[in-house]
């Protein structure tokens, strides 16, 4: 079966006892592309992935994956997808190689083919040296890579990556990004959930922002950044009385109409249209002889994205590494 889309979700609804996890979520992933699903803890990202990977049934709405309806043809879907969860689901008491051989055997691969595939994946994910050690001895990053290798064993058409870098340190995060890019370069479609705009921006062609089980934005990464400002300029004046002057400067160099925000007490910020804004701000601060203790250019945090899109502040910090509760 061929379809233009690797994944199409249409009005997905799902409730758990008291909480409504999804309230009509729709999005689509064109074949060979990467869709980033961006949202804070509890937004419904994991629930959506679990429905698409046939681990969970939706209460309402429909979804097709690789052209097959997830509710009516789950086994056809399972033949074509790989799933990497936010908890690395590898068998710790088996070695890395044994984990992959077991998956190969369950996928009906001939033993020679499974062995070859395991070796290929272990080498690719830099696990060759650790291949015959129990996965229990692996670091967090190694486990993630083994988990990803396990989901790639059967050459899936579509890979679901549920928060693949949550809890990894920045260097390991970039390694993981390289892996994702390599997977995509082979024609695999990827649906990625993340709490980091930076990650979605680095990897995804399109980004869906979800909050409280609803899609609040669905656009290309570039368009989304145009809305939220590709970067924000943060300035903390040394003398609090200079705040108004700084506010005026930021309003002048920032994205027109975006407004100036007090991100933290005493720290002003505004989305900026390009990299030149920093130099311009520095020049103006110099002219007005305003001393600052902090001046930085940052990609907007998820919190700021949400503030721009909804005008609503997230209550809890959203960039923590806490795991999403999904049941």
């Amino acid at each position: 079966m061929t379809s233009e889309y690797a994944v199409e979700a249409d009005g997905l609804v799902k409730s758990f006892k008291k909480t409504q996890a999804l309230r009509g979520v729709s999005f689509s992933l064109p074949r060979g592309k990467v869709l980033g699903v961006l949202g804070p803890n509890g937004a419904g990202k994991t629930t959506a992935v679990r429905i698409l990977a046939t681990l969970l049934r939706a209460d309402g709405g429909r979804a097709t994956v690789a052209g097959f309806d997830v509710a009516r043809h789950p086994s056809e879907v399972r033949k074509r997808v790989g799933l990497t969860g936010q908890y690395a689901s590898v068998d710790e008491e088996l070695t890395g190689r044994e984990n992959l051989l077991m998956i190969g055997a369950l996928l009906n691969m001939r033993s020679s083919a499974a062995k070859a595939r395991a070796t290929e994946l272990l080498d690719w994910f830099d696990l060759g040296d650790a291949a015959d050690r129990n996965a229990k001895t692996y670091s967090g990053g190694m486990r993630r890579r083994l988990d990803l290798a396990a989901s790639l064993t059967g050459h899936p058409e579509i890979v679901f990556l549920d928060e693949p870098t949550t809890g990894l340190d920045p260097a390991k995060r970039e390694d993981m990004w390289d892996v994702v890019r390599a997977i995509v370069s082979r024609g695999t479609s990827v649906l990625l959930t993340t709490q980091y705009l930076e990650e979605a921006d680095a990897l995804a062609d399109d980004i869906v922002v979800i909050n409280h089980g609803q899609v609040i934005a669905h656009d290309t990464a570039d368009n989304l950044k145009r809305v939220v400002g590709s970067q924000t300029l943060h300035v903390r004046p040394t003398v609090p009385d200079d705040a108004d002057a700084v506010r005026a400067i930021l309003a002048a160099v920032g994205t027109p109409g975006a407004g100036v925000d007090e991100a933290r007490p005493g720290e002003l910020s505004t989305p900026v249209p390009g990299d030149r804004a920093l130099a311009e701000a520095v020049a103006r601060l110099g002219v007005e002889k305003i001393a600052v203790t902090e001046l930085s250019l940052r990609l907007p945090s998820l919190d700021e994205v949400f503030f721009t899109l909804t005008g609503e502040r997230q209550k809890a910090p959203t960039t923590s590494d806490a795991e999403e509760v999904h049941s």
């Binding site: 681990l55 033949k79 088996l94 996928l107 009906n108 083919a113 690719w124 390599a182 999904h326």
Partner: protein
């Protein structure tokens, strides 16, 4: 990380009606490998039943049967029955751990039958029961116990015990899939098994029990298994208790297997 090219024609075995068996065997092998790597996980089917046997034989032997030797004829099948029940908690704990660690999510995302992970875990446990029976009979021999019937009857008893164990296991499997922690699995299963193992004919003749307890003990599935083993290994009419044991075994599977499979499918 290098990006070498990948061939997409993976050589596979065509899927067919034997997939369930093949996949269950793959997963049984996984349980087996894990059992071999953590031999301390076998204490419940090795050292602890030996301890029970030795203690019970010398403490209760004289009081209940007049001598240790006489009592061993009752005790060895009794201890096997008791420990088959106790050992079944292990599978519940294992399933619960698999669920907690997300391994079941991996299995469920694969195009395999949803019964395979459960069946695989049960089949992987056979080795534990074989070990249990071997060690118990061996311990009995050291203490003076002898099987006085034929080899086929002895082996028939072993087979019956294993079949019963595999069927009973579906109950702790269900608990393992429903409970929220491994400790809860242990608590729930033992709370059920303690009365089941002691309110039986495992350690005392049921005639000595008050009527209501004797009625329970006589109907107890473990009593039927233990009675079958005594008859098959020491002589006596085994047809009726064996039929009862098989009937109970079938009942366990018919009741608990569908519930366990349903719980496994529903788990989110």
């Amino acid at each position: 990380m290098s990006t070498q090219s990948v061939t997409h024609d993976v050589s596979t075995i065509p899927s067919g009606p034997f997939d369930v068996i093949r996949h269950s065997a793959v997963l049984a092998r996984r349980s087996l490998v894990k059992t071999m790597r953590t031999p301390e996980g076998l204490i419940d089917v090795t050292l602890s039943p030996i301890l029970f046997t030795v203690l019970f034989a010398f403490i209760f032997g004289g009081a209940i049967s007049g001598s240790t030797d006489e009592y061993l004829l009752l005790l060895i099948p009794g201890i096997i029955g008791q420990n088959i029940a106790f050992a079944s908690v292990g599978i519940g704990i294992q399933l619960n751990a698999d669920m907690e660690k997300g391994i079941f999510d991996r299995f469920r995302s694969l195009p395999i039958s949803r019964i395979s992970p459960l069946l695989g875990a049960a089949l992987g446990d056979i080795v534990r029961y074989v070990l249990l029976i071997t060690i118990m009979v061996g311990t009995g021999y050291v203490l003076g116990y002898r099987v006085t019937t034929s080899v086929p009857e002895f082996l028939g008893g072993c087979l019956l015990a294993i079949v019963f164990a595999l069927c009973l296991a579906w109950a702790p499997m269900l608990v393992g899939l429903l409970a929220r922690s491994q400790r809860a699995v242990q608590g729930i299963v033992f709370m059920t098994l303690f009365p089941l193992t002691f309110a039986s004919n495992a350690f005392v003749p049921t005639e000595t029990l008050p009527d209501w307890l004797a009625a329970f003990a006589d109907a107890n599935p473990l009593s039927h298994l233990i009675e079958s083993l005594r008859a098959l290994w020491s002589g006596g009419d085994w047809a009726s208790p064996v039929a009862w044991t098989l009937g109970w075994s079938a009942a366990f599977v018919l009741v608990f297997a569908p519930l366990a499979i349903r719980a496994y499918n529903r788990k989110s």
